[in-house]
């Protein structure tokens, strides 16, 4: 059974067809990458999967459930957690608190718990421990008390991933996680993604950094002008003439 299935997704913005008849299956484990030139419709597809946008036609199936057009917070509750292309941190909060917010779905308690700190203490200790563990895993442990806004860009990206992991996703959607990272940071990110996938979380990422994609992805889907033009293993995609023309060919032309 697949974890996520896109069934003939089409999205039109006025006269512009951002996505046309995209069908795709994501396995229950491993890392899948969606690549494609700018404007190919990758982020639109992510927004549709995560509920921030609705398709003009087609269905999104998560496990056995049809989640097409459901509110983002309800999709998150089912275990599908995303990050954003432009990092969306809670800037004023500390690094640690950002990750703690990520535990929201796995904790309980409202107003009553706020007034009974003793009762809440054990749960808070668990939240704290889980958040600290994620900070260690992402190498941010020594920045725990710094406001998120004070982090350098690369660490902001890592923090957003740590925060998403705090929600214990079944499927993690990452929108260009390597954008703005230097070589060393990208290598660390690849390591982190492999560890996440090895721990049983399926990962779907949009990425421009081909070294990262070829390095970590087991499956690659290629979008071009809103159409899925290829889908397969890295080796298959690399040899696909359509892909070379649409994507890699373009890059070569730019280099020349």
């Amino acid at each position: 059974m697949s974890m996520l299935r896109l069934d003939s997704i089409t999205r039109r913005f006025g006269g512009l067809v951002a996505l046309e008849n995209v069908s795709l299956e994501i396995q229950t484990s491993g890392i899948t990458a969606i690549i494609g030139p700018n404007g190919a419709g990758k982020t639109t597809l992510f927004n549709i999967i995560s509920g921030f946008n609705t398709p003009s036609a087609g269905r999104v199936l998560f496990g056995d459930d049809d989640i097409t057009g459901i509110a983002p917070e309800l999709i998150a509750r089912r275990g599908l957690i995303r990050t954003f292309q432009l990092v969306q941190l809670f800037d004023e909060l500390s690094v640690l608190e950002n990750v703690k917010v990520g535990r929201h779905l796995h904790t309980r308690g409202g107003l009553l718990m706020a007034f009974l700190p003793r009762l809440a203490a054990r749960r808070e200790a668990e939240v704290e421990a889980a958040a600290q563990a994620l900070l260690r895993q992402t190498g941010l442990a020594d920045r725990a008390c710094v406001p998120a806004s004070a982090l350098p860009y690369g660490q902001k990206r890592l923090l957003e991933i740590a925060r998403a992991l705090a929600a214990e996703p079944k499927l993690l959607l990452l929108d260009e996680p390597a954008a703005g990272l230097n070589r060393e940071e990208t290598l660390r990110l690849a390591e982190l993604l492999r560890a996440v996938a090895a721990a049983g979380t399926a990962v779907l990422l949009i990425e421009h950094d081909m070294t990262l994609v070829m390095n970590v992805a087991a499956q690659i889907a290629v979008l071009d002008f809103g159409r899925l033009i290829a889908n397969g293993t890295p080796a298959e995609v690399r040899q696909n003439p359509d892909v070379i023309a649409a994507y890699l060919g373009q890059a070569e032309a730019a280099l020349a």
Partner: protein, 325 residues
Amino acid sequence: MNSLTSTWAKRGSNPVLLAVWGLASALVVYVLIRGGYLMSVLQIAAIYTVFVTGLNIFMGYTGQVSFGHNAFAAVSGYTSAVLTATYNWEPLPAAAVGLGGVLLCALIIGYPTLRLRGHYLAMATLAIGLIAYDVAVEWGSVTQGYMGISGIPPIGIGRWTVASDRGILVLLIIVAAIGMFAAAGIRRSRLGRAFVAIAGSENAARALGIDVSHYKLVAFLISAFYAGVAGSLFVHAIGFVSPEVFGLHMVVLAFTMLYIGGIGTFVGPALGALIVTLLPESFRTFNEYQDLAYGAVLILILIYAPGGVASLPKLLSSSSRRKPA
């Protein structure tokens, strides 16, 4: 290890803030012993501390905006006043009915208006405050219009009442302190984290499974409850209510206190309430230039401490850290 507790401990042990707290408590003790006119000034400051602490939960923590919380103070204030002065109810059950009414009103108002954002939410809430004022003026048979209601009994149970100015001030300070620590408890809890997440980024909050519209409504209800408590306290402490008491002036004062004190902080509302109620009094000697001096000080505070007085310690420590480098 426990940065959550340590950030609070750090804030508490900051020498600048400790000095401010020391000064504030010295003032309160002095006024309690000395008595006189300043007593009623501090009573107003304590009542506004409750009001602004509630507003801080909605505006500071959750990042929303409301120009209409005076409406909630008016609902419970007038309920308290009418039930006790006209129908001879006991103050506590009257206030309880008033607070129930406040929560009901906040639910009915909040559900549709919280779909609005930014300026639109501001406009809608402003309208609610103006409507409350007009109702208080026009519904003469109950509210006695511009005349207002006087002879409202002080807070108490049965024969035991808090009637002396000193007693009222102590009671108000206790309620204000409870309100502040309850707000701090909320901020540190899962609920408070959901609030501040919404203020940080609604999209990111939703992507983590936080039901944004639900938590906005909860924040709105909590802050309306604080406003209601402030409203009831006011009429019982002063013994009089008129539409002007809960008019637009209340909103302007509360906003000034929130921003002067420090929006989103624990001590901000109390500091703001103290400063904004005491400043005009301390410029009495300037006679006709009193308002000018008051305005100038407010502007100076906002220029040199844009985060409010509560942000001063952080400001000072970061500038002293920069110097040696």
